[in-house]
């Protein structure tokens, strides 16, 4: 009888296993799905609400179109006054990281293209270079950051954090989950970036990459664990003029979507790095891109018109 009771308790213990909890959010113009595998429902609910607060805060801070306390909209307007501007510390840190990447990518990753993307978004016809050039400054060198203050040498720069905000917030959430000791999770932001924790059954998550030419087909499945993966490309985001599609990734030097790849997928532990580099690599010739990938120790898949090119390490994820 004793044995039976012991065994019964053992069986009860196995019932106390991890469960999947899922939450959908909509922030930064993106549907976000968070999955957490854990046995403590209370902890998970608290985590969900904390994560939502993080998204909500950065959604407001990075908003170009609506004013919130010391946010990006406020900053873009204040830049016109040519004086030192104090902004939210969190936005300052995000701008600092953005400018660092601008310098690290030989100025290919720029957050100063707001004026130009506005023309691309609102124009009825294909804009000319002159039109784009006349829309305002796109020079991030004009923006100075010093001790929580921003100063601009040029009053008509318009900052846009669309290319980095998601990755930046994912990094904050990654650190938050780490601090809470939550290891098994999967966070999907839209359809272009995923933050990957440990798998719930000690396996690997299978990430299907969609063919940019045939949006119903998967051209490759990668197996990943505790990593971050981002894709940039033309498939979901483009401008259309007289039936012709133009990528939303603008080359800061030509102001046109001069893209070398249809889509670029980047894998690395750092979600900021994958977000920034996937955008940057679309704008670079493959050989130059390979050097950048090597420098930052990331794995890359380029989907070009002429075929698929991969870095060496991709085969470890197959």
């Amino acid at each position: 009888m004793k044995k039976i009771i012991t065994l019964f308790f053992l069986l009860l213990l196995t019932g106390c296993q991890d469960q999947v909890f899922s939450k959908d959010l909509f922030y930064m113009n993106t549907y976000i799905n968070i999955k957490i595998y854990h046995h403590d429902q209370e902890l998970v609910n608290k985590t969900f609400s904390d994560i939502e607060q993080i998204y909500q805060k950065y959604d407001q801070l990075c908003d170009r179109y609506k004013k919130h306390e010391y946010n990006l909209y406020y900053l873009n307007n204040e830049l016109e006054k040519n004086q030192e501007i104090e902004i939210d510390k969190r936005l300052y840190d995000l701008l600092k990281v953005s400018k660092d990447y601008y310098l690290k990518t030989n100025k290919f990753f720029s957050i100063a293209l707001g004026n130009v993307t506005d023309v691309w978004t609102n124009n009825k016809e294909l804009p000319s270079y002159e039109e784009l050039k006349a829309s305002g400054s796109t020079d991030l060198d004009d923006i100075m950051l010093k001790e929580n203050y921003i100063f601009s040498k040029n009053s008509d720069v318009s900052l846009d954090l669309g290319g980095i905000a998601k990755g930046y917030v994912n990094n904050i959430i990654k650190e938050y989950l780490h601090d809470k000791g939550i290891k098994k999770y999967l966070i999907t932001s839209g359809t272009s970036s995923i933050l990957i924790g440990e798998h719930y059954q000690n396996e690997k998550y299978r990430v299907g990459l969609i063919n940019p030419l045939e949006s119903e087909k998967i051209y490759k499945v990668l197996k990943l664990n505790t990593n971050s993966i981002s894709t940039s490309g033309t498939i979901d985001n483009y401008y259309e003029f007289s039936g012709e599609k133009y990528s939303h990734i603008i080359n800061p030097f030509t102001l046109y979507p001069d893209n070398y790849s249809l889509s670029v997928t980047v894998i690395a532990p750092d979600p900021i790095l994958t977000e920034v580099l996937s955008t940057t690599l679309v704008l670079l010739p493959i050989e130059e891109g390979k050097k950048l990938a090597e420098k930052y120790d990331v794995e890359v898949i380029w989907f070009t018109k002429d075929g698929i090119i991969e870095t060496e390490g991709i085969k470890n994820y197959e």
Binding site: Y31, I229, D236
Partner: protein
């Protein structure tokens, strides 16, 4: 081994199988629906949770309902209301197309060879 040991073994086997059956039956978490707006994936819906959703189509809001692992459109802005008339769908690759709203809802099974997609 005496008689009690045999009883114990049988009980354990019985409990194991009933637990296995229980998890197989309750763990139908294999289905989801994908919602596309103008060919862009805008929402992934878990069909195991009864819930209501609203998405913006070209003409206005499209209301979606999930019930008993099935999904349907309850109301939409269009002339003929074809997609709400279609009723529930639940099988893999079944599709509701709201043409005037450019909204497409497709049921997919998660037991494919991937967990999540990237594009």
């Amino acid at each position: 081994m005496n008689k009690n040991d045999w009883i114990l073994i049988i009980i354990i086997i019985f409990i194991s199988f009933s637990l296995l059956l229980f998890f197989k039956l309750t763990n139908q978490e294999s289905n989801q629906a994908l919602v596309y707006n103008d060919n862009k994936l805008i929402l992934t819906i878990d069909l195991t949770k009864d819930d209501k959703y609203q998405v913006m189509g070209l003409n206005g809001e499209v209301d979606i309902e999930v019930k008993n692992n099935q999904i349907r459109v309850t109301s939409e802005t269009s002339n003929y209301h074809l997609c709400s008339k279609q009723g529930y769908i639940s099988k893999s690759w079944e599709t509701i197309v709201c043409l005037p709203n450019k909204i497409i809802i497709r049921v997919t099974s998660l037991d494919q060879n991937y967990d999540v997609i990237l594009r």
